[in-house]
């Protein structure tokens, strides 16, 4: 018995030989249509539902063909959308290939790729349903609202007005653009936040052009400040926002370490200047 035969697609208990016509979507509308799905698993789930089959009995071959014919419509203009879908397509093709090959006589330890895909689909379907239940909960700022009131007048609150540096604003903009990726490891108790150092160093270099590492330090931050500043500089170099240039002015110190005293010149690292590249 081959449950993967196209004939296994049933619509209202009737086996069908051809893919339902109503699945056709004009190419230009395709990308927009695809954006309605939360991803390839969601799309696959739709195809399974559309074909009215039990998930555990999912016929891989016809579903794969439908899936591939849709993905074929994805043009280069929507490449960013395509990545995840193409990955799924390759998974489906791999499963399809496996199913077409003769089964080995001896059972192997390898997991059945089809069973694995079905398991993933089930898990996804479960999360999707759970997310809908979550969305049905009474939610703050959609169904119920916090009461907002103003605090007493400034002068009643405090005699002296706090004064802020305009650099706070600028740093916030740098931080907005340059904040470390959330994938990066973060130090739990960071006395000197990395994002703050990155922002401050970017601001200083972008206004001054170039500065030495020492000049960029905030002396109040102590040793940990030096370490975090160094990491910040490395991060900015990785992003090609700043570069290192040799310092020109003090050629006098480097000129007298010629040939004769090679050992000491190895220790005498010329000072380096950091430069804003943007």
């Amino acid at each position: 018995m081959d449950i993967f035969d196209t004939a296994a697609i049933r619509i209202y208990q009737t086996p069908v030989q051809h893919l339902p016509e109503d699945l056709y979507v004009p190419p230009q509308a395709f990308a927009i249509w695809l954006e309605q799905f939360a991803g390839p698993l969601d799309f696959l789930l739709y195809l399974v539902k559309k074909n009215n089959v039990d998930l555990t009995q999912m016929p891989i071959l016809p579903i794969t063909e439908q899936y591939l014919s849709y993905i074929g419509e994805l043009d280069t203009e929507h490449f960013e959308l395509a990545g995840d879908y193409l990955l799924m397509a390759s998974t489906l093709i791999a499963i399809k290939t496996e199913l077409l090959l003769p089964k080995p006589e001896t059972p192997t330890d390898e997991r059945d790729p089809k069973a694995e895909l079905i398991e993933r689909l089930e898990e996804y379907a479960q999360i999707k349903a759970a997310s809908q239940r979550l969305n049905n909960l009474v939610r703050l700022e959609r169904d119920v609202f916090l009461a907002m009131v103003s605090i007493p007048n400034q002068d009643a609150m405090s005699a002296e007005m706090p004064s802020y540096s305009p650099n706070l604003l600028l740093d916030s903009l740098f931080k907005m653009q340059l904040q470390p990726d959330y994938q990066m490891h973060t130090i739990n108790v960071d006395a000197v936040p990395l994002a703050d150092r990155i922002a401050s160093i970017s601001r200083q270099l972008s206004t001054a052009g170039s500065r030495s590492f020492y000049q960029l330090l905030d002396k109040a931050q102590g040793k940990i400040g030096v370490v975090v500043s160094f990491v910040a500089v490395l991060e900015l170099m990785k992003r090609h926002l700043i570069g290192v240039v040799p310092t020109e002015a003090d050629s006098s110190t480097t000129s007298d370490t010629n040939g004769t005293d090679q050992l000491s010149s190895n220790y005498d690292i010329p000072p380096l200047t950091l430069q804003w590249l943007v």
């Binding site: 609150m157 405090s158 706090p162 903009l173 907005m176 601001r203 943007v278």
Partner: protein
């Protein structure tokens, strides 16, 4: 522990408002009560102070009804800790001044620390003004919380002035003279030059 003077007159809602006003029927009184509650709700929910015109429009009120309802609201509030405050840009609900020592004592940080989200929002308004709410969301890539805007309005650092001529005519946001004061500037020209955000964005 109790350092606040609470010996105020309780102008209870049930009492007639004042002798000069002709007495209202129970039904009128009830309707006015409801209106005053609706006004209270809107003031609690609004990011910005609300003008008399906006209130009248949203609740379909006459000027007389509005004034009566506001009087009633103020009377009801007097038994609690809030007061109805009229500013140049409209009405808002505010914690009564006499509680400021309590707030200062419990939340000493409240005044000085500005969150990154608040600073970013303020920066976008300062550098790109006039901007709409959705302009800010576009630049920051996250939805703007009502509470955050409310804080900026409360500090008097931003105002709504004019509308953008697009769908929905969204209000345009500007910074104020108080904003300049707080940041030690005398003119917007004195803001530090804006970094080339586009270039940074392209690189990172």
């Amino acid at each position: 522990m109790v350092d606040v003077d609470d010996t105020r007159q309780d102008d209870n809602a049930q009492k007639p408002i004042s002798a000069t006003v002709p007495p209202l029927t129970d039904e009128q009184q009830q309707s006015l009560e409801n209106i005053s509650k609706h006004i209270e709700v809107l003031l609690h929910a609004s990011e910005t102070p609300l003008t008399a015109n906006v209130l009248k429009q949203h609740l379909s009120l006459s000027s007389k009804e509005l004034n009566q309802a506001l009087t009633l609201l103020q009377a009801r509030l007097d038994t609690g800790v809030l007061s109805l405050h009229e500013t140049a840009s409209g009405y808002r609900l505010q914690i009564t001044d006499r509680y400021s020592p309590l707030i200062q004592r419990v939340f000493p940080q409240r005044q000085e620390r500005l969150s990154q989200a608040l600073l970013e929002t303020l920066s976008v308004i300062a550098y790109k003004q006039p901007v709409t709410r959705s302009d800010i969301e576009q630049v920051r890539g996250v939805t703007l919380s009502s509470n955050l805007l409310r804080q900026l309005f409360d500090k008097g650092w931003i105002v709504e002035k004019g509308y953008k001529d697009t769908l929905g005519r969204p209000a345009l946001l500007h910074t104020t003279a108080q904003f300049l004061d707080a940041f030690g500037l005398t003119h917007l020209d004195e803001l530090p030059p804006m970094p080339d955000i586009k270039a940074i964005q392209a690189l990172s």
